[in-house]
Amino acid sequence: MGKFQLITKGLIKENPTFVLLLGMCPTLATTTSAINGMSMGLATLFVLVLSNMAISLIAPYIPDKVRIPSYIVVIATFVTLLQFVMQAYVPDIYETLGLFIPLIVVNCIVLGRAEAFANKNGVVDSALDGIGIGLGFTLSLTVLGLVREILGSGSMFGWKFIEGDGILAFVLAPGAFLALGYLIVIFRKLTTK
């Protein structure tokens, strides 16, 4: 696979949200607005790239049976790093995403990429893979957030284009499930032509 393909496959062919259906919890919970979705996606991207690189470096030295716990420790370290950095420099976003920042540890995408790709490939490829999948995740979350924001609050990226409230249900839990369901359908329709 070429280097370029490593990055682009995460966007459509192996899109983590719409095709692989991974990392559903943050996908549904943090996409109340486009900005929130994008922030969550970028936070995951950060952890994904670093943990992929670190794991591809240390994988040859780890006994097979303790590989999963080792990966989890590595991932948890980067997540905690991210927590510190966000608390220090973007405290508002950190507060909005709240619990879901530490929960990146148990996001199946991150551990999944470590297990499926990073431990068999070199540092550069693993980093590119992390960027690709991370971008795909960010893109999906932004789109989902945007749809929910437009329908639910009548605004786009915080810019309000109608007065008053939108369809409130789209900001709440039912709308999250519904919007994601329909986006997957649309995504399938577009990609299976």
Binding site: T32, P63, V66, F84, A88
Partner: protein, 194 residues
């Protein structure tokens, strides 16, 4: 994989990873602690400025007051001449998704100047609207001696957020509590401005 899964290898490997990771974290924690505290302090200070009259130029160090068995943090503020012009009190009533931390500012006569949410975990789209001006604006210049601090549903004068009575009620209760705390502070002999 070149390394065998012997007991010794596994123990050494996991141990080494844990040591490296926790020392890395300890290092970064020490590095980012200052900026994190600075960010929190800056936020707090900005909130104090926002809830107090513009004439407040000197903001005193945070003090605490005990009221009905709990302790509340507050800051007194003075104008250029050194007169007390306001007081900002922290309260944290429990809303729908946990405590809502609010800073309530009073002018010297006990009228609410402004309120500001420091942190909250209310439902986005519903209770989380308590941070928006459309809700918090109504507390500006709210005189607790004239009007009642409770949502209209409970016979008060606060307009609740649509479909978020619990949050609105908590907010109103929190501000009402701050009023009581303010009165308690006002009754104790005012600390001199040294």
């Amino acid at each position: 994989m070149a390394v065998q899964s012997s007991f010794k290898n596994m123990t050494v490997c996991l141990f080494a990873i844990c040591i490296v990771c926790s020392s890395l974290l300890a290092g970064v924690y020490a590095l980012t602690k200052a900026p994190i505290d600075a960010a929190a302090a800056a936020k707090n200070e900005a909130a104090i400025k926002e809830v107090l009259p513009e004439t407040a130029v000197t903001i005193e160090e945070e003090r605490t007051v005990d009221f009905e068995g709990a302790s509340y943090a507050y800051n007194l503020a003075y104008d250029e001449a050194g007169n007390t012009v306001g007081c900002a009190i922290n309260v944290a009533p429990v809303g729908f998704g946990g405590p809502i931390s609010i800073k309530v500012g009073f002018d010297a006569s006990g009228v609410i100047w402004n309120t500001k949410v420091l942190s909250q975990a209310e439902t986005p789209g519903l209770g989380a609207k308590c941070v928006e001006a459309s809700f918090s604006e109504q507390f500006k210049g709210f005189d607790p001696a004239q009007k009642k601090l409770a949502v209209k549903k409970d016979g008060g004068d606060v307009d609740a957020i649509t479909a978020s009575t619990i949050t609105s009620r908590a907010y109103a209760d929190g501000v009402a509590l701050a009023v009581k705390v303010f009165q308690a502070i006002a009754q104790t002999p005012m600390p001199l401005n040294e």
